[in-house]
Amino acid sequence: MKDVKGISYDEYFASGHRACAGCGEALVLRHIMKAAGSNTIVAQATGCMEVVSTPYPQTAWKVPWVHGAFENAAAIASGIDRGLIAQGKREGVNIIAMGGDGASFDIGFGALSGAMERGHKFTYIATDNEAYMNTGVQRSGATFPYASTTTSPDGKKIHGKQEPKKPLAFIVAAHGLNYVASMSPANLFDMKKKVETALSRNHTTFLHAYCVCPVGWHCKSADTMELSRLAIQTRVFPLYEIDNGVLQFNQKVEKPKPVKEYLELQGRFRHVNEEEVEKIQKYVNDRYDFLLSIEGKKAFDVLY
């Protein structure tokens, strides 16, 4: 059996991994690998997905996989790229570097930026669950504003994270990459297409994946898909791709649901008051408006 309704039946991220029940990141990995297929080498950063997938002597991986440290997946992928080239073995092999939001937005961003500057051919995928989950839900640069984490708690004086979400996809696109896209388990067919497109390009490409973490978000494990959908419908996590510098929506949301619906399902937002909900709504509106304003135009200079 090859495909089931357009999705490969083969699994490369095997059952038996130790992710929590309902883990959105595990679901995303499963589908990334289905789209990438067996001719893929993965370099993964430290984080939940690495920890749950490879407790020696077991591995959930059915493709060649390497983990080095938390901040260096892109650098390791650079070495793989050039190592294969140097031996004439680069052809026909996909290379994916992957990291959580902590690895990608924060500590490993220097290495990613360096790799993009050199223009290596590989796809970097940031699996974003908006906090350092593996170490117990600490704030990252990707944490959604006002979300409470263990280092940006819902305190008596300060209510959760005070900074906006680092706009990583734009930052990456500004490096001059010819393909950057956001993706979500709410649209697995779209995800498949994006992984395939990204891997087909000749330089570094970047994918930003939305990943629900029931543990860190204090939501029900059964809500993983529901939240993924709501994130799109509320415009919290828009699906788009920036192909050759031009941004297009893949699932444009004409009539957004109020952000509140999204927040209410998650314990990490339990503390936000009405005023803060308003601020979050405005934050989401502004970001989406900006996307709308650049839609369809050459908004990024493409170098590669």
């Binding site: 002597p57 591995t59 390497v66 190592g83």
Partner: protein, 378 residues
Amino acid sequence: MKTVIEASEAVALGAKLSRVKVCPMYPITPSTHIPERISDYIFDGEMDAEMIHVESEHSAASALIGSILTGARSFTATSSNGFELMYEILPILSGMRLPAVMAVANRAVAGPINIWNDHSDAVSARDQGWVQFYVESSQECIDTIIQCYKIAEDKNVQMPVMMCLDGFSLTHVFENVDIPEQKQVDSFLPPFKREDILDVKNPKTFGPIGLPDSFMNFKKQQQDAMINAIDVIKKANLDYKKLFGRGYGDGLIELYKMDDAEYAILAMGTICGTAKAKAEELRAKGKKVGVIRLRSYRPFPVEALKKAFKKLTRLAVLDRHISLGSDGPLFTEINAIAPGLDVFGYIAGLGGRDVTLDHMESVYLDLETGKQKREWLM
């Protein structure tokens, strides 16, 4: 081919002759001439390798993980703060048992920032599971880089190797070097073959979590590999000598006028040359002095050293680094294995403070008189 070249070029040629395939490199004084020469070779098409212009040393070391795991022989070079920025990755490379080879152009570690020579960078990484050589001459550089691959890739070792050469005091010195022929090097060093690689036809997992049930056993394996390295180093030195006519002591330590020496200086790197020059002078005056050059600091060749100490009355250890709040690491380690011996300890040549013939004379004098046993050679 005999010629005069800079030691940095000797290092670069060593890498080229070893048919290195990937070089992730980042510049830092005084190691810069090494990537510069390699860049020349690659950009001129004389060396069939990939230069990765990494954005930091952390990424240089990390890229080594990737490139070696594809089966490509790989090389890098660094110094001081660059070395320190790699620090996290050093034990990962050794823990993964990857035969990386790195040239360390030794330089003082900041702060204050200082670009000159001492051993604080590499010596402070002595625990990290890398074989560490300290060399004395440009000739030894080129010969040792080739040997490094032989040792690192030996199936009983499979550990990364760093070759430490003194920054400026060696890296920037032009001197006589006999460059080995490629063919001969090829016969000494076979192509890099590795079974465990990233291969889509045979998928394997590298770098998993080691739980408490296995981690310590892996460390024991690493320690065993380091101990194995002792014989492998000796053999590499011997085999190389057979082919090229050059050897460096037994590969682990080099003895200079030690047959009947009563007093000896023990050190690493270029200051051994200066000690030798002084010893030669004093020998002419009838003093029974010698020099022990420690070439392999890791593995620490306990037996070879103990043997070398046998006839000694007194030994002076010169450390080009200090474990602040304790003592010179070499002094401590020698003391630990030579309980009977009268060991004098000197901190010397930190941050480019020159170690002179006068210094050496004063040390030999100390050994003779036995009055002063501890000093900073300022």
